[in-house]
């Protein structure tokens, strides 16, 4: 049975178990967010996707990403109060991640030209906003190499025991999902270095171009039952090989 609610005075139908953010996005109503990823579990960390929710007599400012839709709910995504609180949280994040383009752009959009706050005392990974998207992606892939460490103002993202993690395969998904792109990844023709660990890259068996890390390949073969010869060739050489096969059939 569908749930009926109103978002910015627009009547909307949603399914039980859905959350405000996804329903709004489906309607083309944009709500800013930094820590949300549709494929990963919700956390509600950045506190940017704030909306005003009225449910019966209860009215509150809350995050759209983790609030379940309810019958008769009225959601306002763009009130002065909502904008003010979004801006304050962005100002806090701007002090923590002054060089992150995504934070800077969003802050500017919300009228936060600069942060009145000092950078936090504990900030071992510069520009990290502690949203745990990297941890969530890493766990989702089954690696569990990254951890949220400590708590409170000392919370950080790191590796168990502060040393390179055996579980890391160097796939770089953590960087892919990072909203501030604060994770360092360095690549040479033969190696990739990430989280303090240098991985050997598989080289294309025909042209020698780098493909993926050896560890990632081993993991993919093990968990995804990929044929062993699928990933030791770069995609261009795979194409050439395919075209040659095709040519021999056609002509």
């Amino acid at each position: 049975m569908s749930i009926r609610l109103w978002i910015d005075d627009r009547e909307v139908l949603a399914e039980p178990g859905e959350r405000i953010l996804e329903v709004a996005q489906r309607q083309g109503i944009s709500i800013p967010t930094l820590c949300h990823h549709p494929a990963l579990p919700v956390l509600g960390a950045c506190r940017v996707c704030l909306v005003e929710v009225q449910q019966g007599k209860r009215r509150e400012i809350t995050t759209a990403c983790n609030t379940l839709v309810q019958e008769g709910m009225r959601v306002a995504t763009d009130t002065a109060e909502v904008r003010g609180h979004r801006a304050m949280n962005l100002e806090l994040l701007r002090a923590r991640a002054p060089e992150a383009p995504a934070v800077r752009e969003l802050a500017t959009q919300l009228g936060v030209a600069r942060s009145r706050f000092r950078p936090p005392a504990q900030n071992p990974l510069p520009n990290c906003i502690l949203c745990e998207l990297c941890v969530r992606a890493c766990a989702h892939l089954g690696h569990h190499a990254l951890a949220a460490v400590g708590r409170g103002d000392k919370k950080r993202i790191g590796l168990p025991h502060n040393r390179p993690a055996e579980a890391c395969v160097g796939c770089g998904s953590c960087l892919s999902v990072c909203p501030t792109r604060c994770i360092l990844l360095k690549e040479t023709a033969t190696t990739r270095t990430i989280w303090g660990q240098t991985f050997e890259l598989v080289r294309c068996k025909s042209c020698g171009a780098p493909v993926m890390t050896e560890a990632q390949r081993a993991h993919a073969i093990r968990t995804k039952q990929l044929p062993e010869d699928h990933d030791d060739t770069c995609e261009l050489c795979k194409q050439s090989a395919a075209s040659q096969r095709l040519a021999s059939v056609v002509w």
Binding site: C138, G150, A167
Partner: protein, 163 residues
Amino acid sequence: MSAQAVIDPAELDEVLARHPQGQPAGLVNLLHDLQAAFRYLPEQALERAAEHLGLSSAEVYGVATFYEGFHLKPRGEHICTVCMGTACHVRGAARLLEQAERDLAVRAGQTTPDLRFTLEQVNCVGACALGPLVILDGKYHGSMAPDRLSRLLGKLSDKKGSK
């Protein structure tokens, strides 16, 4: 705190054996038992705990560092805990902590290089009527004053020194 203390593998096995395998819900209680056995949580113990409960090292490490009650570094032979609860605070707990920091030449949360003393603070132990309170090796000392604390700490260091 450079040397990683050697832990007895038989004792580690014994603690693990008391906890059912593959049940992640038992993690916090298991960490308590490991800490009771080794006085802190050595890396090796955390790794084995992860294996035992079917968790990743990252999950166990994340949990162990989240809770204030777990210590990942070796602790001193004597533990001086200054209660920083509200009742103790309004009766001058901060001064006790400063005094202990001066006397032991370490900051709160640290252990002296000779592993003799660890200075800790706790956010209330529920003995508020006794504030300000210091716990020395498990014994509660109420209505504490900086000079009295100095004397108590001094006595403890002498005791070992004369042995």
